[in-house]
């Protein structure tokens, strides 16, 4: 049985998407969500928040998603934390590459605010299945 998924760190530079995803994950999914507007902020926030899962936008100014993931993986407490990329680029080759470098899965943007939490739960269950 999968352990409970309660805390999610969502990293996204677009304020509108950040707000809508947080709202959706909290109101529909019942998760506790912390947001970061950049990879650098995620690195600051993550150690205190200790998320069960991290949702990471791929294309961000400064540190992009893959770079942020690499930096997180260097912190001992996040070596194994599931990281899911979120991207508007849906090319299969890119999705395969993200998984190769360690992403658990990829969620496409735009997402439906009413079903985002279900998608996250499915990924979590699949990971622990």
């Amino acid at each position: 049985m999968a352990p409970p998924l309660t805390k999610i760190l969502y990293v996204e530079d677009d304020a509108d998407i950040r707000t809508i995803a947080k709202l959706s994950l909290e109101a529909v999914g019942g998760f506790t969500v912390q947001v970061a507007n950049s990879g650098a902020e995620a690195l600051d926030i993550a150690p205190a928040f200790m998320p069960d899962l991290i949702l990471l936008d791929v294309m961000m100014p400064g540190m992009d998603g893959p770079t942020t993931m690499q930096a997180l993986r260097k912190l001992p407490e996040f070596e194994q934390t599931p990281i899911v990329f979120m991207t508007a680029k849906v090319m299969q080759s890119e999705i395969a590459r993200y998984k190769e470098i360690g992403a658990l899965d990829v969620i496409h943007k735009p997402f439906d605010p009413m079903t985002l939490s279900d998608r996250v739960k499915d990924i979590w269950r699949g990971h622990h299945g």
């Binding site: 509108d16 100014p61 508007a88 943007k109 735009p110």
Partner: protein, 116 residues
């Protein structure tokens, strides 16, 4: 206690209104990038302009459909792909390239909530 579904829908509607209110600014940023591209006298300037347009288009690809403007998101996706190709090409965009981008920006605007 408020129904979580109702609360979500109300907040989504508020966010949608905010998104619509900010659309003119997004279009202005893209049109500014197109003007910057038109006046670019070096490859570096042209690439910088393309990156401005691409960044804004990319945001729309990820957001527009979530707020109910799927066609605007699709049009922004076409624009982003064109910018990507030109950036990857690494050459000075031709007049035809610039015209095509300009048309694609117009296509995004046509599908937006500020065009009606």
């Amino acid at each position: 206690m408020a129904d979580p579904d109702e609360t979500l829908q109300r907040r989504l509607a508020e966010l949608r209104d905010r998104f619509v209110a900010g659309f003119a600014e997004r279009m202005s940023t893209m049109q500014g990038g197109a003007e910057q591209l038109e006046g670019a006298s070096s490859l570096d300037e042209a690439l910088a302009a393309l990156k401005v347009i691409r960044a804004e288009a990319h945001k729309l690809v990820g957001t527009a459909a979530t707020f109910g403007f799927a066609l605007a998101g699709d049009a922004a996706g076409v624009l982003e792909a064109s910018c990507d190709a030109l950036i990857e090409n690494g050459a000075m965009p031709s007049p035809d390239d610039r015209n095509r981008l300009s048309d694609q920006i117009t296509a995004v605007e046509r599908e937006t909530p500020i065009s009606s």
